[in-house]
Amino acid sequence: MVKYSGELLLAASLGMLLCVWLNWWVIFPLFMILFFVIYVAMGAERKGKLGPAAPILWVMGIGYLVLFYLLIMLYKANPTGMPKSYFLGFPPATAVLVYGIWLLPLLLGVAYALIFDNWIIKKEDLERLQVHSWKKKEKESISIKG
């Protein structure tokens, strides 16, 4: 997946554009979720591998698919009529939007923090970059007073 991330992102973008023009709103979330997953994978990838980010991406992709299509299913069951029931203050489809699509992705921020020290940034990255950092300081130690 990571090897072809550019191509997959291109396919997802073209897919979304097609859905916009053809009003395929049921298919649109599929391409959007593919885009999100590839997009985050690009940021999490290290030397072609996803490491501990892989399960996060699986959960993110499947979670989004379940939530979006549950919302669509509930919406289609009663698209414009009066709500027959309320779940925690909202009609069922809107509750999926509020408690699922809105609030659950906050966990992605927790996932980022959990893999930060052993995957996002490693000590050896900083050691390798230290060399360039010293070069920068030698070359560009200009301070301009205001």
Partner: protein
């Protein structure tokens, strides 16, 4: 008085004046700490986790979130919630894609702005120039709308006319921005962010109390029109979905958010930043959601007359349903939202004028801090002129601000810093396509020449087009594994 309600009681006035004095105080405090261009544009990398996270969220939450958002919810129900709900995933995604790369970029290069990063990534002054141009367009539009919003809020609080109100608010914003640069900006952003969160949570609780609980509010709104409380609201389904896409991925493309990632003391401070920013924003989204729905519910229940102007939803609720202290805090929160966004744009605009565009032509300005202060003043004058005398242009630029940044920055910076095949030609093509698509589609829609089908949002489509152009041109131009156009230090940043 152009129909704007006035809320100038002694309590609200005292809170507003206290708030403005604190902002000025932070400006004075920062002045002595702003000596170099790095201090002025990226705080000299002295910022901790909480300040950078709250500043990043408060820069994204503009005055629109406090005025336009509740107004849209009042008018169209849940449709606009797709904008604000997208931020819950947007901040973590931005952190995955940008936090590490931006901070490491600042470690190996003297980068103070987004065009600096673009020039380093693509070894191209052409790409730097086009990025600076795209930013300037978006900045002028955003600043113009913030000036107009500032006038309305100052009028509400102080009962003065709109132009005087805008000028007083701008004078305070300009003083603290010129004195303390972005250092003053991030600390006022932090202070302002805390006010916004507090105000939003308080208003949410108040709305639940006034409206009789969420189920009662939802039921009343459904009686008005069941679609309004359905998952997509009163607008088209494609509008809601394309909004979600644009605001989820566009967050990382907002320069006032992205450049905050340069500013931390060290890279480890970024660990929990995405989560903190997302939670803080989510708390503010409570106001956006609850205020509009509650007002609609009150109208349906016959407890309030229908509003003539949906943009007055927030102010009307504050005047008629909340205690003065809470109204004062929320109005200060509203000023905070406007000023924190305005300050970030002034700083970015100054960087584009005194640093990015001259450097794109191989010129380096001496004494950047002095000229940045002059450029800040110039930007205030120009945007005030636009806001007061060229309202159509400002409305257009303001509408296309978020989309312009997303279309230019997402492919070129966000994807470009995570994908080694991106080329300079692709970057320039994507920026130009993004700019042209945003501007022409907005103008054609405004003058009824052509509208995107099925209610699709212009900024989303322009961003998709810019991404397609960037990826397609790069894939055609460059074979996989070809890294000949990357400097060794940039290659290390992209591989870390």
């Amino acid at each position: 008085m152009s129909g704007v309600p006035i809320l100038n009681t002694p309590v609200t006035l005292s809170i507003a004046i206290l708030y403005l004095l604190v902002c000025l105080g932070i400006g004075v405090w920062s002045y002595g700490r702003t000596k170099t261009a790095a201090d002025y544009f990226i705080t000299g990398q002295t910022i901790g986790l909480w300040v950078v996270s709250i500043a990043a969220f408060s820069a994204i939450m503009s005055g629109f979130g406090f005025v336009g958002g509740p107004g849209l919810t009042y008018q169209f129900g849940t449709s606009s919630l797709w904008i604000t709900f997208a931020q819950a995933v947007a901040f973590p995604m931005a952190w995955f894609l940008l936090a590490k790369r931006m901070r490491l970029m600042a470690e190996v290069r003297n980068v103070l702005s987004l065009p600096d990063a673009v020039a380093a990534r693509y070894r191209s002054n052409g790409a730097r120039f086009w990025m600076a141009v795209a930013l300037l367009f978006g900045i002028l539009g955003y600043l113009g709308t913030q000036v107009q919003a500032m006038g309305v809020v100052m009028q509400t609080i102080f009962g003065i006319d709109l132009v005087t109100g805008a000028l007083i608010g701008l004078a305070i914003l300009t003083i603290y921005t010129m004195m303390g640069g972005i250092l003053a900006g991030v600390y006022t952003d932090f202070f302002q962010g805390v006010i916004m969160v507090f105000a939003s949570v308080a208003i949410f609780l108040w709305c639940m109390s006034v409206g009789g609980g969420m189920t009662n509010i939802s039921h009343n709104v459904a009686l008005a029109d069941p679609k309004l409380i359905g998952p997509f609201g009163g607008m088209s389904i494609m509008t809601a979905l394309t909004w979600y896409f644009l605001f989820a991925i566009g967050n990382a493309g907002q320069p006032h958010m992205a450049t905050k990632l340069y500013m931390t003391k060290d890279i480890y401070r970024l660990k929990w930043g995405g989560f903190i920013s997302a939670v803080a924003y989510a708390l503010c989204a409570l106001l956006w959601m609850s205020l509009g729905l509650t007002m609609r519910s009150l109208v349906q229940a016959g407890q309030h007359a229908p509003l003539k102007n949906p943009d007055l939803t927030a102010v009307t609720f504050l005047m008629e349903y909340t205690p003065e202290v809470l109204a004062g805090i929320v109005l200060a929160g509203l000023m905070a939202a406007i000023m924190s966004t305005g300050n970030s744009f002034l700083n970015l605009g100054a960087a584009a004028i005194v640093r990015d565009i001259p450097q794109a032509f191989g010129k380096k300005i001496e004494n950047e801090v002095f000229w940045a202060r002059i450029a800040t003043l110039g930007l205030v004058v120009v945007s005030t002129f636009f806001a007061l005398y060229m309202k159509t242009l400002v409305a257009l630029l303001g509408v296309f601000g978020w989309g312009t940044f997303a279309a230019a920055v997402v492919p070129v910076v966000v994807i470009g810093l995570n994908w080694k095949r991106g080329t300079a030609a692709a970057a320039m093509a994507a920026i130009i396509v993004g700019l042209v698509a945003n501007f022409t589609l907005e103008i054609m829609a405004k003058y009824n020449v052509y509208k995107l089908p099925n209610g699709a949002v212009v900024g989303a489509v322009a961003t998709m087009l810019a991404i397609v152009v960037y990826l397609a041109v790069s894939i055609i131009q460059k074979k996989p594994g070809d890294e000949s156009d990357l400097d060794p230090d940039i290659k290390e940043v992209l591989e870390a």
